[in-house]
């Protein structure tokens, strides 16, 4: 059943158009940034947009920040809102249910398909923006970050072997590191300057990449560290979308209009966004689905700040449980006439 839903998802041109549009926004922003080199003033605009001018390997994080507030939730609401209501309005739902299929299982399969969609969308955004970022802004060494990914994910198949084709280092700043209270301005931080060494040595390439990206707290990030934090942030963004997906999926079982379900979910999100920013509503903000959306940036602090991330995970889990239960309560006893 899950397979059927996934095939259905993959066969829809709309799925790919949505993902393409999601990837387009960060690309457009990157082109403007790269041609003008005008970044938003510090502390304003989307996160990481000024930092990417130094190293494009941070651009996936900036891209997530760009699509997270509106584009991604809209895409999720469209797909999830259509999940049941779409079948209903096309008249395919009753044929679907004529098969010996449990309605609960159908709901579960729909949810899995939506999660796969979100995962695919986030991975595509991160992947394209990494390529775009590195090619437009350069990176300390893009290959080092890519090679570090297997170290993080546990699959070490790609680490050994061939020489990396190290990209030109775009930043010229001296290597960062610990700075004493009194002796900081004397030198460039004491790390060996790897710029002159050949790009063939993976170790040197890694060190070079290390000297180009920093956490929000000023700690230099190794490629493995950066890759791990990016993966963490991407995972968190995927989970953050589950609440929207659950709201839209529940509404999708209530109405036969997928547009209605999508708009209903978006209305819930906008309400949540408004209330989150309202001090007077502080008593309910911990329960709002968008409350901890921005916590993914805490992966880039040093030490990683887990408080809001953990709260966000529990919150999304709560929304999924309650709304999927509601969808189940509504859908399993619903008269399907269309």
């Amino acid at each position: 059943m899950i397979g059927v839903e996934l095939v259905k998802l993959a066969r829809r041109p709309r799925t790919w158009a949505t993902i393409g549009l999601l990837c387009l926004l960060p690309t457009v922003v990157a082109v403007f940034l790269a041609t003008t080199r005008i970044s938003p003033p510090p502390g304003q605009g989307a996160a990481f947009l000024s930092a990417v001018l130094q190293s494009g390997s941070l651009y996936p994080a900036a891209a997530l920040a760009l699509v997270l507030p509106i584009f991604l939730p809209v895409a999720v609401a469209v797909v999830a809102g259509d999940a049941v209501a779409g079948e209903s309005s096309q008249g395919t739902l009753r044929y679907l249910l004529v098969r010996p299929v449990r309605r609960t299982a159908l709901l579960g399969a729909k949810l899995v398909a939506i999660v796969v969609f979100v995962l695919g969308a986030v991975l595509s955004v991160a992947g394209t923006s990494y390529v775009v970022g590195v090619s437009l802004f350069g990176a300390g060494d893009p290959v080092a970050v890519v090679r570090a990914l297997p170290e993080v994910t546990g699959d070490d198949g790609g680490v050994a072997g061939t020489a990396p084709a190290g990209g030109p280092q775009s930043t010229s700043g001296p290597a960062g590191g610990q700075v004493g209270g009194s002796d900081a301005s004397s030198s460039g931080g004491g790390q060996p300057d790897a710029r002159d060494s050949s790009a063939v040595d993976p170790e040197a390439a890694r060190e070079r990449a290390q000297s180009s990206v920093s956490s929000l707290s000023g700690e230099a990030l190794s490629p493995a560290d950066l890759a791990a934090r990016l993966l963490g942030a991407m995972g968190y963004v995927v989970v953050s979308m589950l609440g929207v997906a659950a709201i839209a999926l529940f509404l999708s079982t209530v109405t036969t209009s997928s547009l209605g379900a999508t708009l209903g979910a978006l209305a819930a999100l906008i309400t949540s966004q408004v209330l989150v920013s309202l001090d007077a509503a502080s008593s309910v903000t911990p329960y709002l689905p968008t409350r901890y959306w921005l916590a993914w940036i805490d992966f880039f602090r040093d030490p990683i700040f887990l408080r809001d991330i953990t709260a966000g995970l529990w919150l999304q889990a709560g929304y999924v449980v309650v709304l999927m239960l509601a969808a189940w309560a509504n859908f399993t006893t619903k008269d399907v006439t269309s």
Binding site: P42, S50, L97, P174, V179, S217, G218, Y287, T333
Partner: protein, 375 residues
Amino acid sequence: MTVGAGTTGGRALRWAVVVLVGALLVGVPAAIAARPGSAQADPDELRDRIAASADVPWTGYAEARAGLALPRIPALSDVTTLFSGVTRLRGWYAAPDRARTDVLTPVGERDRYTTPRGQAVWDYGAELLTLVAADPVVRLPRPDDLLPPALARRLLAGTAASDPATALPSRRVAGVDAAGVRVTVADPETTVGALDVWADPATGLPVAVEVRARGVADPLISTAFGELEQGPPDPAALEPRRGPGAGVTRSPTSDLFGVLGRGDGASLPDRIAGRDREPPEEDFPALGQYGTTLGQLVAVPLPADLAATLLGGIDRAGAGRTLPVEGQGAALETPLLTLAVVRSNDGGRAWVLAGLVPDAAIDAGAADLLAGGAA
């Protein structure tokens, strides 16, 4: 077509399950958070223990809420935003000269490291590490002052020993069963009405603070830990770091009062608004501290251009009160903190005057500054 047992009873039962699970998910965490504390401590003893808690190390996260609603004034925006809204703080505290405070924003952070050799400020947005030689003791408020331990100790130090301490109901804050004490401030020369502090009765570490102004029902500043671990912090977190490619700069002081206070203090009288001037700190001869209690006034001479900027800023914000003095004076007033800029009629002399004091003290102080500086 109906699939499954679509009876009304089954449907009601299903929805009952939904409502029950929803209520549990909302209610259980709320009930755990709201469960009353049981800690008890003698209020006077607790107050002494809080005052002596500077050597208690901790690591934690705190949120401070301030409702002073100051308008945004150029050159003072750090202070005005600090007192109008929520400040999110992460802290590592090993000793008074070994600490770090991060101010978290949605797109970055600003970290202040205190080391035995001085302070270092890391600004992610500006990609700059500033090494600060020294800040004066008397200075403009900054975010790390809003951490519960810092705020409690600083403000309690300004109360009189005769101010009565009463017990407050205990509260659970960040996993600590904290005992509460209210110190009611008797001094009519300050706007601070009472300080409510909740602290760990075992160590005396303040975990929540509420500052109340005279005649205002709700606390104007409230700060509390959301996460707290007592014990020495990770030493690695206390080392200042400079991001790759970021700049480093040195500054004698990071505080506006500190910068101004390094100038010439000749225009500061010995006594204003009935308060005697304290001996000036070394390196900051132009920093005028009048009094040592909560009702103290701070006066600093201003250069003409900055005075014009500040007066213009207060004027544009439309929230200032014009002072009844011989000269120009405008005050930004809140029920707690007042910040005034005073300038002589010829524009030659100007001061900034601040304190947790009522209007009358500001007016008298401004008049004394104009009169005394001329003599």
